[in-house]
């Protein structure tokens, strides 16, 4: 079997396609084609394997060399006269606290000044999970792969440690998200922590119990709810800002937990999307369902 696979690999892409097509694709049509296939040789140019490797290596080395030369000619790191130290970064540093209300200026930049980019970023995660659902989620009638024998069921060490660690991980994640506008952290990092905690919980407690807590419907409701909230609230903020309309969103008193306008709520929304996406990616790749 291994030898056969290697043979296909060596013959290149077309052969691989043919292999996949034969194995998965089409049952051979019963009815004869309207006309018998004409014998015709496909003419392709074959580059010898060694020459191909050598050329690829040369190209890579050339690109590496050019990029390193470029790096050497960039403005030196940390120089106060660099072009990046312009009025934009100065304004972020000098007026960021006042304008966004976020003590954590990074949160102010990504969720207030440049919130449109971050909306795009959280949708990148959503696109990824949608594509994975289309590809991997088992549909009605599709056989579920039975790999329960490979699971660490009733693993005493894993369960005990899991019960100890998971609550701490989840609480820490929630802290990182809720405190995102006050200290380093925010939705992306906190969501990743929570996602890791959920994955650990699933490994320790098993799929059946976890599936009752976080079913596919719950996952869908959380993701769509969080993303819709983000899009709608920022749409309001963009529209009022662009048209110079009075807005109900105010920076508040910097340093308080309820401050910095929309930023804490957007952090929660982003955190939910990130946590759900990480957990769903893990389970979809393993089981084909949540």
């Amino acid at each position: 079997m291994k030898g056969a696979n290697n043979r296909w690999l060596e013959q290149g892409d077309d052969a691989l396609d043919r292999l996949i097509a034969e194995r998965i694709d089409s049952p051979v049509p019963e009815t004869p084609a309207p006309r018998p296939p004409r014998k015709r040789r496909v003419r392709t140019v074959h580059i010898p394997h060694a020459l191909y490797l050598a050329l690829a290596l040369l190209l890579c080395l050339g690109i590496i060399g050019a990029l390193m030369q470029t790096t050497a000619r960039l403005p030196s790191f940390g120089n106060p006269d660099n072009p990046t130290n312009n009025e934009v970064s100065r304004r972020y540093l000098e007026q960021g606290l006042e304008e966004t209300g976020a003590v954590n200026l990074v949160a102010g930049m990504i969720l207030d000044y440049r919130a449109f980019d971050t909306l795009g970023e959280s949708n990148v995660l959503f696109v990824a999970i949608c594509a994975v659902i289309i590809l991997l989620r088992l549909q009605q009638g599709e056989a579920r792969p039975d790999d329960t024998a490979w699971e660490p069921r009733h693993d005493l060490i894993l369960r005990t440690v899991g019960r100890l660690v998971v609550p701490l991980v989840l609480v820490f994640g929630i802290y990182v998200i809720l405190n995102g506008h006050l200290s380093p952290g925010g939705g992306f990092s906190g969501g990743a922590v929570i996602g890791a905690g959920l994955i650990l919980c699933r490994l320790a407690e098993g799929g059946e119990r976890m599936g009752k807590v976080l079913s596919f419907r719950t996952f869908r409701a959380l993701s769509t709810g969080a993303l819709s909230f983000y899009a709608l609230s920022k749409a309001y903020s963009f529209f009022t800002g662009a048209n110079r309309l009075p807005s109900v969103i105010t920076p508040g008193v910097p340093g308080r937990i309820f401050s910095a306008g929309l930023i804490p709520y957007l952090n929660i929304a982003v955190g939910l999307v990130v946590a759900c996406t990480m957990y769903a990616l893990f389970t979809l790749f393993r089981k084909g369902d949540l």
Binding site: D17, I20, A21, I24, D25, T31, A33, P34, R35, A66, Q69, T70, R73, L74, N82, P83, T84, N85, N86, V88, R91, Y92, D112, Y113, R114, A115, F116, D117, L119, G120, E121, N123, V124, F126, V127, C130, A131, I133, I134, L135, R137, Q139, Q140, R220, A221, G225, L227, S228, A231, L232, A235, S237, F238, F239, T240, G241, A242, N243, R244, S247
Partner: protein
């Protein structure tokens, strides 16, 4: 600020906000919801063209209460509005035309997520068209890239679409990384991400001999990354499989819209950030010109060799992208305009070709090979007419959009002068001959009498597909017969873009 100036904002945010909800809808409702949003965006974009042509000029729209350069910004002119209406309209027609096949190709559980991908693609296309900020462009390039992977791989039960999606993913992720690298280098050199200040900063850089290599690298990275994503020869290797194995809606959206979005971004980068003078100073326009010509010829040569209809159409896309890059490389203002017109005519033509090809294949018991499509035009007349019109438009027969495209390229080549004039004219002539080989052959084939008539009666074309094909046919004819208004919009858009 008048309310109509919020149309670009609405065109991006409506599909973006609507996409999340779509995941929770049942299959049929999700398709209708997606179609309705596409129709709304199309209507808004058409309204924007009218407002801009009567109100004149272009405007910027801050995305955030603090505005650019601290926040993000959108910018709209006649060109952007035209492209937005084209993208949303063609996407609506592609969804309409492929909806019935979509129901067969995807299980019900997958269909809502497919609608999500379509809506997010639309939002990202709109953002790509309107953005005035290079980093925003990168974020939405990522969204389009991932959506494209889903659109290719979604067809259930075929291994071929999976391997095509994998190949697409590898090439496109490399391109994403190169684009990001280019943006980072440019930011490090200039300190800007917004296109307007970048333009001035790039002029300063170009005058500094010490920064020549970094600037050349930036131009190379941005051009190569978008050329990979836009499927320019020799970076086209993911195209034939991806376009020919995806479900018809996916193939139409990918070939006529997604690939154009990258080319539009490249056009904006080339005209608004790296001006034509800087492009010529680092010799990049010659490279684009020569690669474009190589693409024109190689794409058509490969298309002649194909034995399957959809693969042939996919290879022809490579040739058309070559035309567009040749236009980028022609000096003088006409080249860009000709490229934009070709993007419009190719978007309308290629989506029609993929939908018509699918209808013809269905009418021939699902056989993909060209030799089995003999006489398919008689079994599905509307699809046959549409396929013939699309292929003849690619050749450049008068009354169809492709003719005006080629005429524009010829005029641009003559206006460019120099050594490029004879090269471009010769390439156009040879490429047209090659097009005649494969296009006319396919047209003759589908209208000839079949040797053995099929036993089963051909299935009727669903009314949605018929409607979409008819509308696309009308659009193709309109582009061919009523090109001057479109050309005026493009010219006025290009005049204010720089």
């Amino acid at each position: 600020m008048p309310l109509w100036q919020s149309i670009p904002f609405a065109s991006v945010m409506l599909p973006l906000a609507g996409a999340a909800v779509t995941a929770a809808l049942p299959p049929r409702a999700s398709r209708r919801w997606a179609g309705a949003l596409m129709a709304v965006v199309w209507g808004l974009s058409v309204g924007l063209i009218v407002c801009l042509l009567t109100g004149g000029g272009s405007f910027t729209y801050p995305m955030g209460h603090l505005g650019a350069p601290w926040g993000n910004e959108l910018r709209a002119g006649p060109l952007e509005a035209l492209l937005a209406s084209l993208f949303s309209g063609v996407m609506l027609l592609s969804l309409l035309g492929g909806a019935d096949k979509l129901r067969e190709d995807l299980t019900p559980g997958r269909q809502p997520f497919y609608s999500v991908l379509l809506l997010l693609t639309l939002a990202a296309l709109m953002a790509q068209v309107y953005t005035n900020d290079l980093f925003t462009a990168y974020v939405f390039v990522e969204i389009i890239t991932l959506c494209g992977c889903g659109l290719i791989a979604a067809r259930s039960g075929t291994g071929k679409s999976l391997s095509a999606a994998a190949r697409y993913m590898v090439m496109n992720l490399i391109a994403s990384a190169l684009f990001l690298l280019g943006v980072i280098l440019l930011y490090d050199l200039t300190g800007h991400l917004l296109m307007d200040p970048l333009r001035g900063a790039v002029q300063v850089l170009a005058a500094d001999p010490a920064r020549e290599l970094p600037l050349t690298m930036v131009v190379a990275l941005l051009c190569v990354s978008l050329a990979i994503k836009g499927a320019l020869w020799p970076f086209h290797t993911w195209v034939p499989d991806a376009y020919s194995t995806a479900t018809p809606t996916g193939a139409a959206v990918l070939s006529s819209l997604v690939c154009k979005a990258y080319l539009i971004l490249l056009l904006k980068v080339l005209t608004r950030v790296i001006t034509p003078e800087v492009l010529a100073a680092v010799q990049a326009d010659q490279v684009l010109f020569l690669l474009g010509i190589a693409g024109m010829l190689m794409g058509s040569l490969h298309a002649i060799h194909q034995r399957e209809l959809r693969r042939m159409i996919a290879w022809s896309s490579v040739a058309q992208v070559g035309y567009i890059f040749m236009g980028f490389g022609l000096r003088g203002g006409l080249g860009m305009g000709a490229s934009v017109f070709h993007m419009v005519s190719h978007a309308v033509c290629k989506s029609m070709l993929f939908l018509a090809a699918d209808a013809l294949i269905r009418a021939s018991e699902g056989h993909e090979a060209l030799r089995n499509l003999r006489g398919a035009g008689h079994r599905a007349p509307l699809a046959g007419v549409c396929l013939s019109a699309g292929l003849l438009s690619l050749v450049g027969i008068p009354l169809l959009g492709g003719f005006v495209s080629k005429l524009n390229f010829v005029q641009a080549a003559i206006a460019a002068g120099g050594i490029r004039e004879p090269i471009a004219l010769a390439a156009l002539a040879v490429s047209t001959l090659l097009h005649i080989f494969y296009c006319v052959r396919a047209v003759l084939l589908i209208w000839s009498q079949p040797e053995q008539p099929l036993t089963a009666p051909a299935p009727r074309i669903p009314w949605r597909a018929g409607l979409a094909l008819g509308a696309l046919l009308v659009l193709n004819l309109a582009l061919g017969c009523l090109a001057p208004p479109v050309w005026t919009v493009i010219q006025s858009g290009l005049a204010v873009i720089g």
